[in-house]
């Protein structure tokens, strides 16, 4: 098997995640799709790291994980405060810049 297949899998997962962001309207599911896209990128970075035989790709994947963790914390806090003020987690309801 050619290791480029990992890249194809990553591309497929990224595409599914991007489509999910466009289709779904529940803010939590949209957020999960974003996580899926980040994970797909990580898979591509790890595969690249293996192809080129150095660890820089893994380092970048590691930083991606750290940033994703920070993003999840802030994003979920925003969703919770949105749900508190609007009693719904649908992104359609959040059409104003203020809460």
């Amino acid at each position: 098997m050619n290791p480029v297949n990992y890249l194809y899998l990553a591309a497929l997962l990224f595409t599914i995640g991007a489509t999910g962001v466009l289709i779904r309207r529940n803010a939590i599911v949209v957020f999960m799709c974003i996580e899926l896209m980040l994970n797909a990128c990580n898979l591509a970075l790890v595969a690249f790291s293996r192809m080129h035989g150095n660890l820089d790709g893994q380092i970048i994947a590691f930083f991606t994980m750290v940033v994703a963790a920070a993003e999840v914390v802030v994003g979920l806090a925003i969703i919770v405060s949105l749900f508190r003020s609007r009693h719904s987690a649908s992104v359609d309801d959040a059409s104003l810049m203020k809460l």
Binding site: M1, N2, P3, V4, Y6, Y8, L9, A11, L12, L13, F14, T15, I16, G17, A18, T19, G20, I23, N26, I28, V29, M32, C33, E35, L36, N39, N42, V46, S49, R50, M51, H52, G53, L55, Q58, I59, A61, F62, F63, M65, V66, V67, A68, A69, A70, E71, V72, V73, V74, L76, A77, I78, I79, V80, S81, F83, R84, H87, A89, S90
Partner: protein, 280 residues
């Protein structure tokens, strides 16, 4: 050509693992997008992430594989589940489209994007395949550490600042400042007596001997459900289950069975009878 191909191809075992687990990952990703309820989406995403962790391990990224399981499936997905529970488990997406044809356009856009990505990868010249063996010679974690603390040390310190900012930001966003003092139990009871509505405690939810779930409204004597019996949170979410018709039918069937058991010829459809009449 075959020698060159052999130089950059993986073992048969890894190929088998890739095709089996890759299918699982794609199915999990599709379920994440298309499952109606957020809990199911979260669980499918957790499955996909575990599969990705196995792929990291297979690619020689041992540290990242473990971190993926511990941080992503262990911490982030559980945080997601926590918020899903907070927001409401049964709150399904509304299927009404706000913009006409938006779903199909989005699917089309996704498809086009995927075709572009695949074509890009297919046209890229990915000829060199060195394998991770040499880079991992002194151990994967040691190699990563030596890179993080030398070349990437500034980025590493910045992530520390980012994490602290995120933690503070989350606390600021979810913290609610109380503007007035919380009313005490005594004040609440005095207010209830003054207003004269619902002086005794609110009735309990559930239909006795049939449903004692908290989301089932208790029935009034005439068989209509009483909203007062269900907690305010469930009422606001619209998660009150109405079993009044079901419960009345059950009751009727039970009475009919009882009368048949007692070999009474006359079967009365009425639900309520006076005690002295029933004892005859």
């Amino acid at each position: 050509m075959s020698a060159q191909l052999a130089a950059y191809s993986t073992s048969t075992g890894e190929a088998f693992q890739f095709w089996v687990l890759g299918t699982v990952a794609v199915i999990g990703a599709l379920c994440t997008v298309f499952m109606k309820r957020a809990v199911h989406s979260a669980l499918c995403l957790a499955a996909t992430m575990i599969v990705l962790a196995v792929f990291y391990l297979a690619n020689g990224a041992y540290f990242l594989g473990i971190v993926q399981i511990v941080v992503y499936t262990g911490a982030i997905m559980m945080l997601f589940l926590f918020v899903v529970m907070l927001v409401g488990v049964t709150a399904a997406d509304s299927l009404k489209e706000t913009i006409k044809g938006q779903r199909w356009l989005a699917l089309l856009c996704g498809l086009g994007f995927g075709v572009l990505l695949f074509a890009g990868i297919a046209h890229a010249s990915l000829k060199d395949f060195n394998g991770i063996g040499r880079a991992n010679a002194n151990g994967n974690v040691e190699g990563l550490a030596s890179l993080i603390f030398t070349r990437y040390v500034f980025a590493f310190e910045l992530t520390g600042a980012l994490l602290i900012t995120a933690a503070v930001g989350a606390m600021v966003l979810t913290h609610r400042q109380r503007t007035e003092r919380a009313r005490t139990q005594r004040e609440l009871s005095e207010q209830r007596v003054r207003e004269g509505t619902h002086v005794p405690p609110l009735p309990a939810p559930g239909v006795y001997a049939r449903h004692n779930a908290v989301d089932v409204a208790g029935l009034l004597p005439d068989g209509t459900p009483s909203e007062l019996t269900v907690s305010k949170t469930l009422r606001e979410r619209g998660q009150v289950r109405d079993v009044s018709a079901e419960a009345l039918n059950d009751l009727k069937a039970l009475e009919q069975r009882a009368e048949e058991r007692l070999e009474r010829t006359e079967i009365e459809p009425t639900a309520f009878k006076r005690p002295e009449e029933a004892s005859k």
